[in-house]
């Protein structure tokens, strides 16, 4: 168990180191792209940093997916413009681009909170109906056969 915990910790540190290396490489080799990505995916980054330790799910993944989906056409433009500083700054100054990407990430976060709740309600609703059906049947049997009260 101790060895496994050490292994998990080692794995985390390796992953963190890899992430750091990837970010460093991106900043070094494509700084305009890195700037755009950093600005556009700030909510995802914040969600990752703010997620409580030991939480079942990290909403960062959802925010990234939805953010990428929203940002993809713009990133294609940046890539077509050879990832130059003017193109990246131009993209960032158009407020609807960061707004759309941040909006998509906000929608992802909202959906990630609301959809499970809705799913829970649907499941519980079915359970309530079943419970009511069972209680009714039990009551009928109790009346007919004089069996004991339900616990």
């Amino acid at each position: 168990m101790a060895r496994r915990a050490v292994g998990v910790a080692t794995g985390r540190r390796s992953w963190l180191w890899a992430q750091g290396l990837a970010c460093g490489l991106l900043v070094a080799m494509a700084p305009p792209l890195a700037l755009v990505l950093a600005v556009l995916f700030t909510p995802a980054l914040l969600a990752m940093l703010m997620a409580p330790a030991g939480a079942a799910r990290n909403p960062c993944g959802l925010l990234l997916v939805y953010g990428v989906a929203a940002a993809l056409p713009w990133l294609a433009l940046l890539w077509a413009g050879a990832q130059s500083w003017p193109v990246s700054l131009d993209l960032l100054t158009r407020l609807h681009l960061p707004g759309a990407v941040w909006g998509a990430q906000a929608a992802a976060w909202l959906l990630g909170e609301l959809v499970p709740v809705a799913a829970r309600q649907v499941l519980e609703g079915r359970v309530r109906a079943r419970r009511s059906q069972l209680r009714e049947a039990r009551s009928r049997l109790q009346l007919e056969w004089g069996l004991g009260e339900a616990e």
């Binding site: 997916v65 989906a69 056409p73 009346l143």
Partner: protein, 673 residues
């Protein structure tokens, strides 16, 4: 004595009236009683409605003293001249509006020879005695003997003749147990000392004895030993012999004296047979010289009595059994036999009995003492009857004795005698005078009947078995007369209509014993189960089963009152049904059947084993289903956190899926463009 009133001429009976007729033929006229003509029983003029003749007599049978079934059956088919033989018997309305059982005979030709209570009359002449009394009665007794029937009612009050010069006719003696109404002077002392109903059928020699006393009484014109108590008469006869006790100092003609002496012999084997009496000269010639009973110089004290002869000692021990047992066990009787009578053989036999008693039951034991007394008396006096607990009876008189003592301590004592097989013990001591094997088998069978478990056994069952015409004496029946099994249901139905009767079961101890004794199908098992039933409802169900069985056998219609009676204790049985709606339905159906008096339908409803089994099975299924429901509800409650986790997971996956789908579509669109 007033002559018999003339009979009216009646018209043919209607169908309704036929039901009130004896054997559908004889009508009893309660307005024309015949006091003193029934030899101890009430009797009335009866009329044959078919012929219109009114020269018949109906004797009312007392409920506690049933008629003699064997004699009635033997004589009904073929009458005997000179005797009022039974023509028919059956139920009819009796005095006071109470139903009664009657025996119908031809009316006597004239008044009785001696009215009850009459002190004296003109003595008869010798020829009158021989020709008008002895010969005709001897002929009649001879014909009875051929049918293996005894009369046991021979006495002047039960002999009739139309006028002087005509032969007498023997009266009826079939409407009560044998000799039950015979005064002690007319009975041999050993029969006179018995319970009135316990004298048994006896033998024809007992009738010869009674005829001898009758001959004496008419010869001397008065009642011998008049005014003496019956117990004293018996003691006197045993002390000096019947002839000496009854004749005393009376002067009789030699012929009559010799005849009477022979007819009054203590030993029945020494009395002349009826065929000899038909020829008085031959009867006189056959005189058996009986040895006088031995007497001791030293009397034996039994209580306050100082007795010098065996018969007296036997009688004293029989009437004071506890004192007698003490004397026997202490050896006082043994010593008296050896020293007083010089009979060491009998003393040795007595000593053997006492030793056996001590070995079998050391210490005080009332039953062992009673058996010792019974056997000792039989040894001391082989002519003596079965003596038990101060009572005496002959074995074939047990039925009459039980009928006459029903519900009393005497009946319980007789039951103890049967349980101890006292009759068998008595028979073993006198094998030359009875059939010990037969009596032992009968005693054993009676004991088995007595020991039958529950309300179908006991002394009540024995009482009804030994007296086939004994009426059921259950208090539930009120004044109804129930002699045959077929009379029971209508009587119960009527009884059930009376306020206050419907408590407990309609089958009590007496009715149960009556049913067990009268039915050819064994019902004792069901009756025993009824007595052992754990609840009144279960007992009522068994009672219902028995009554339905009876109803189906006899095809009795609806019994509304009985059904209403049983419905009350049966109702709780419905509580054992598990299904509530079914319970309600059954209760309604039970009430409907009870209102209709449909006992079989009530039984089908309550005793439907298949339906009960279904109810039990379905109740078990319902219980299992409820258990499954409870388990599922518990599982649903326990699985709530898991469901929440699953909902979260499903929701997250849905959102993620939508996001990936959007990403993919966007990528494709971007690449295409």
């Amino acid at each position: 004595m007033a002559p018999m009133p003339p009979a009216p001429i009646l018209s043919a009976p209607t169908l309704a009236e036929r039901g009130r007729l004896i054997a559908g033929q004889y009508a009893v006229d309660l307005n024309r009683p015949m006091p003193g003509w029934g030899a101890g029983l009430e009797c009335f003029v009866a009329t044959d409605v078919k012929s219109g003749r009114g020269d018949y007599m109906a004797l009312l049978v007392r409920r506690e003293a049933p008629l003699r079934t064997q004699a009635v059956n033997a004589l009904s088919a073929m009458p005997i001249d000179g005797i009022l033989t039974p023509l028919a018997h059956g139920p009819a309305m009796g005095p006071g509006g109470m139903p009664g059982w009657f025996v119908v005979t031809q009316a006597p030709p004239g008044a009785p020879l001696w009215a009850e209570g009459m002190a004296a009359a003109a003595p008869w002449h010798e020829q009158e005695l021989l020709n008008e009394l002895l010969r005709p009665v001897a002929h009649a007794l001879e014909r009875l003997q051929a049918r293996h029937v005894t009369h046991r009612g021979v006495r002047p009050a039960n002999l009739f003749r139309a006028r002087a010069g005509e032969a007498v006719t023997l009266g009826c003696a079939w409407a009560a147990p044998a000799a039950i109404h015979q005064p002690a002077i007319f009975e041999p002392p050993y029969a006179a000392m018995c319970l009135p109903g316990g004298r048994g059928e006896g033998s024809i020699s007992d009738d010869v004895y009674a005829l001898g006393v009758t001959l004496l009484m008419l010869a001397i014109g008065r009642v011998p030993l008049s005014g003496m108590a019956e117990a004293d008469i018996i003691r006197r006869k045993l002390e000096v012999g019947s002839f000496a006790a009854l004749v005393g100092d009376e002067r009789l003609s030699p012929a009559i004296g010799d005849l009477i002496r022979g007819m009054l012999a203590e030993d029945p084997d020494h009395r002349p047979a009826p065929v000899l009496l038909a020829d008085p000269a031959a009867a006189r010639a056959r005189r058996v010289a009986a040895r006088p009973p031995p007497r001791s110089q030293r009397p034996l004290l039994v209580g306050a009595l100082a007795l010098s002869h065996l018969r007296g000692v036997s009688l004293a021990i029989a009437t004071a059994p506890q004192e007698g047992a003490r004397l026997l066990r202490s050896g006082a009787v043994d010593q008296w036999l050896r020293r007083g009578l010089g009979d060491s053989t009998m003393a040795a036999q007595l000593d053997e009995l006492v030793r056996k008693r001590a070995a079998d039951q050391p210490g005080e034991d009332a039953t062992a003492d009673a058996l010792l007394v019974t056997q000792a008396i039989a040894l001391l006096d082989p002519l003596a009857p079965v003596c038990w607990a101060g009572m005496a009876l002959f074995p074939d008189g047990l039925g009459g004795a039980l009928a006459g003592t029903a519900g009393t301590a005497a009946e319980r004592a007789l039951g103890e005698m049967v349980a101890a097989e006292g009759v068998a013990a008595w028979a073993r001591m006198r094998p030359e005078r009875c059939d010990p094997v037969l009596l032992r088998a009968e005693a054993h069978q009676q004991r088995q009947t007595l020991r039958a478990r529950g309300i179908g056994g006991g002394t009540a069952r024995l009482r009804y078995e030994l007296s086939p015409m004994l009426a059921c004496r259950s208090p539930l029946l009120g004044s109804a007369l129930v002699v045959r099994l077929g009379d029971l249901l209508p009587a119960l139905e009527d009884a059930a209509a009376v306020e206050g009767v419907r408590e407990g079961m309609p089958i009590d101890v007496e009715i149960g014993a009556f049913m067990a004794a009268r039915s050819d199908t064994p019902v004792a098992g069901e009756l025993a189960r009824m007595g052992d039933a754990p609840t009144p409802g279960a007992a009522a169900l068994i009672a219902l089963r028995l009554l339905v069985w009876l109803q189906e056998r006899q095809r009795v219609p609806a019994l509304r009152n009985l059904a209403a009676w049983l419905a009350l204790p049966l109702a709780p049985l419905l509580e054992t049904w598990n299904n509530r709606p079914q319970r309600t339905r059954l209760a309604e159906m039970l009430a409907a059947h009870a209102r209709a008096g449909a006992l079989p339908q009530m039984l089908d409803l309550l005793d439907d084993q298949a339906a009960r089994q279904r109810d039990s099975t379905e109740a078990a299924d319902a219980a299992r289903l409820v258990a499954r429901i409870d388990a599922e509800l518990a599982q649903l409650a326990q699985a709530a956190p898991a469901r929440a986790a699953m909902a979260d997971s499903v929701g997250h996956e849905l959102v993620l899926g939508a996001g990936v789908t959007a990403l993919t579509l966007t990528l494709i669109a971007t690449l295409v463009m």
